[in-house]
Symmetry: C2
Subunit: 212 residues, 2 copies
């Protein structure tokens, strides 16, 4: 059985949990507590020198990092149900939308970035929240615009894809930072549909063993 | 012929130029001047509502965004030479390393983020440079560590891959922000090897028509 090293509230861990659950792949979970900096522990750095979660450890001990790269590995090795369309154009567009979250929103409000602006830019809680909310809203404006132009059941597809693996954790995160998510009605519709599905329920932060 | 909307000094545009050149795919170039905010013009927003470069416009007018998604589209449609290994594990690891640049370094020092910290966090040139250098160095420490553990001609492969499409532009950027790149000897070796290759020379910022 594979092992997922993750944290209940890490949105990148949450993405991989959704992908695993959609594909019906059971894994052993190892909790890496980001609040006590366990991701910087010697044990965790030995499997991921970047000191990030998630890490997927295969049965033979090989490790994979970066949530999108892990999800694409899972899609190649457990192809059913597919997380990405086979048509190269649509496949690229779903990936682009996933990257709008996983590259253009999420890393800018990563814990290490928030710590930096607190310490080096003298930002308090209000400044930190405003920062995180700004980048989430900026990205969501683009994604809502794209979502509005599609008639599919989900974002660009008729089943949850790599994009929904990223969107639902990012909406969860948006709520933590007080973003007015009602500005993004199509994204909220997708969120509501996903959160009724067993895979998304199983992957939700509040349903993890390490929830605090 | 396809059209690449880009900017000579944009590292994401530079990535796609390298991929196109490695594959020998000729495109028409449209310069989007980021210094005068042409990326926010009505014309550019009509093709990419996110207001970013690069955008690859196909012959039929379909548009693709996000450099990694564009590069993977090119790899699927122009498979030779491959930018990604076919083995799922190695493929995922090359993507993970590319994401360490394209998600964990580059967006944090995107122009819009630098503008935000100047305006909202009262950062001057020194603070902006320190910020950009910090995130580049943090990511490069991880990548140098990984590079040291491989005996291949390039990062994890024996030919330039998706990763080198990201690395060389990021090293170019690191130099702009005064990062001491000699701390990363293996990355510098890869950079030197790549910059001797015709594809990387053709794609270099200083060899673009819109260079200032």
């Amino acid at each position: 059985m594979m092992t997922l090293h993750g944290y209940w509230r890490s949105s990148a861990s949450y993405r991989v949990r959704i992908g695993l659950a959609l594909k019906g792949v059971a894994v052993k979970h190892v909790a890496v507590n980001l609040r006590d900096e366990s991701q910087k522990s010697k044990d965790h750095l030995a499997i991921n020198p970047q000191g990030f979660v998630p890490v997927l450890e295969l049965e033979n001990g090989a490790v994979l990092t970066q949530s999108l790269a892990i999800l694409e590995y899972l899609d190649a090795t457990y192809p059913d149900p597919a997380l990405l369309p086979m048509d190269p154009l649509l496949r690229s567009r779903v990936k682009a939308a996933a990257l709008t979250i996983a590259a253009d929103i999420s890393p800018i409000q990563n814990l290490s970035v928030l710590k930096y602006i607190r310490a080096q830019h003298d930002q308090g809680d209000a400044g930190v929240t405003q920062w995180a909310a700004h980048w989430i809203e900026t990205g969501f404006v683009t994604l809502e615009n794209i979502a509005q132009s599609h008639k599919t059941d989900f974002f660009m597809t008729n089943a949850p894809s790599l994009f929904e693996c990223c969107l639902i954790p990012q909406i969860y995160n948006a709520c933590r930072f007080g973003v007015d998510i009602n500005r993004f009605p199509k994204l909220m519709t997708i969120d509501a549909k996903c959160r009724e599905l067993p895979a998304f329920i199983a992957a939700a932060p509040e349903n993890q063993a390490d929830v605090i």
